[in-house]
Amino acid sequence: MTPVLLPLGDEAATLRFGEAIDLALNARAHAFCAVLDAARPKGLREWAPAFASVTLWYDPDALSFDELNALCLRLASTPDFSHTGRVHELPFCAEGEFAPDLFETAARNGMTARDWLEAFSKVTFEVYMLGFLPGFAYLGGLPKFLDAPRLATPRKIVPERSVAVADGMCAAYPFASPGGWRLVGRTPLQMFDADAKTPTRLAPGDRVRWRLVGVGEFLALEAQWRG
């Protein structure tokens, strides 16, 4: 499918590759961003990938929408996408209050909590995009046999660093916030640090595997950055 550029006001536009949450479409969005990172076209201020699109912010007095459209169609035709993201192994703990939805999520899939966690730890997730909160990464690739829909009633407060699943995806909440995903653990790692050179642990296009740890290791890892 040929991508379509749609105006988002007069200083931004979204290049839409498709309308589904899908690894192949998402890879096109990351590939397009990689091309922009290298080309740094004049008049473009910023770009950000989403599931199946890339939003571009531009200076409309330097680059018209039609020029931007021509530029996007030319650059988006670049066929190759070599995976450039990093691979992360992130610890998480699924004990007690860290994982209030674990048993139900496992039971919905006819599994014990232990089997569910073991299978979950074998999945390689893909960072589709960041959004919702600073550093909130939508991790795609949760297999159907581990999946569950969002909670009917979202929680008013999801504790920070909760690891959650819903609708084929996984995420770790960088901050406490309202949220409707199912909480299956908590990571001891800081997911967003405003004073770091790269403030987020995960970037679009990265890959993630989760490593189950006990409470002792959780506390030790947490103490490392809490100081």
């Binding site: 749609l6 105006p7 007069d10 309308e19 589904a20 989403a50 939003t55 550093g135």
Partner: protein
């Protein structure tokens, strides 16, 4: 450095500059002052280079005492104030640039939001991720507190007065899309024909509106894509949310349109209980609106000169050109 102490923090007061760009791909909102022209005007009155940070006031203005002067303050917006100096009291009008000295105490009142307070050389807050703008949710600064110390460059000079900067009127202009196809022509017509009331839950993230219920052709939910200040989301309840500076970087609700850049500042001026309406325009009209807005700001700047502003000094510091291109 010149120093002020916050004797009373006011309400809805935060440090804001031109915004935090370059981190949207990591989910970090742009933030920055809701009304950028008001911020630039406050900085010009105070003698601060672009893109300097100001105190943005959205509810109640602070009370400030100068611990170490002299310094200059620029008041843009509908303030009134009382200056306490050497046992005397003096009434202060808004749209002023004035010098404060050690020991001065300034009690400000905001008659109508928003207001912007500029400081000589710019408010000296630490830049984080390239910006001084407050975004408390991610630990980037926080609300102003009692006893906080504000620092800025020392400066003094003659008092200045400026005409108020207009914020525009008539329907708010928007470009339809990117999910225009999610709405029928009738729904679209209802959106542009209605008057929308600002709900009290509105904040720096978004302006929440109440009016006739807008329906979607299929679903309110889309595969999340990028959003930006001005994006008009229509969630399942059919009541629009217009994103503002602290709005998240992506969203899963269909967007009927996005407010043009020349009308973004105006969104800071509609208060809870007040009404606004929308008019669809094309990109050519948005370009004309940007040019008109630049001309209007230029006119304001020229009016400053007749109010006794030192224009030569401004040009020599290249303040205005920076202010306009950065706007």
């Amino acid at each position: 450095m010149a120093r002020l102490i916050v004797e009373h923090p006011g309400l809805g007061v935060s440090i804001q500059d031109s915004g935090r760009t370059g981190f949207r791909k990591l989910g970090v909102p742009v933030s920055g002052a809701l009304d950028q022209r008001l911020r630039i005007a406050a900085n010009i009155l105070a003698g601060a280079p672009e893109p300097a940070a100001v105190l943005e006031v959205l509810l109640a203005a602070p009370v400030l005492r100068v611990e170490q002067g002299p310094l200059r303050l620029g008041l843009a917006g509908a303030f009134s104030g009382v200056l306490f100096r050497d046992g005397d009291e003096k009434k202060i009008d808004s749209w002023r640039g004035l010098t404060l000295h050690t020991g001065d105490r300034l009690a400000l009142k905001l008659l109508r939001p928003p207001g912007s307070i500029g400081f000589s050389g710019g408010l000296d807050a630490p830049a984080r991720l390239g910006s001084r703008s407050t975004y408390a949710r991610a630990g980037l600064g926080g609300p102003l507190g009692r006893g906080d110390i504000l620092t800025c460059a020392p400066a003094e000079g003659a008092d200045l007065a400026a005409p108020p900067l207009g914020s525009g009127e008539g329907p708010v202009r928007f470009i339809p899309g990117p999910q225009a196809e999610a709405f029928s022509p009738e729904t679209f017509a209802t959106f542009t024909a209605s008057r929308w009331t600002v709900r009290p839950e509105s904040d720096r993230m978004g302006l929440r509106l109440a009016g006739p219920r807008l329906t979607h052709e299929k679903s309110a939910n889309i595969v999340s894509d990028g959003v930006t200040p001005g994006a008009i989301q229509i969630p399942g309840d059919g009541q629009p949310i217009v994103l503002r500076a602290d709005g998240q970087t992506s969203g899963g609700y269909a967007k009927i349109g996005c407010v043009i850049s020349a009308d973004l500042d105006r969104l800071a001026h509609v208060l809870p209980g007040e009404e606004l309406s929308f008019r669809a325009v094309d990109l050519a009209e948005a370009a004309r609106a940007r040019a008109e807005q630049r001309a209007a700001f230029e006119k304001w700047r020229q009016a400053l000169a007749t109010f006794g502003f030192d224009e030569d000094k401004l040009w020599s510091e290249n303040l205005i050109s920076g202010a306009i291109s950065g706007a």
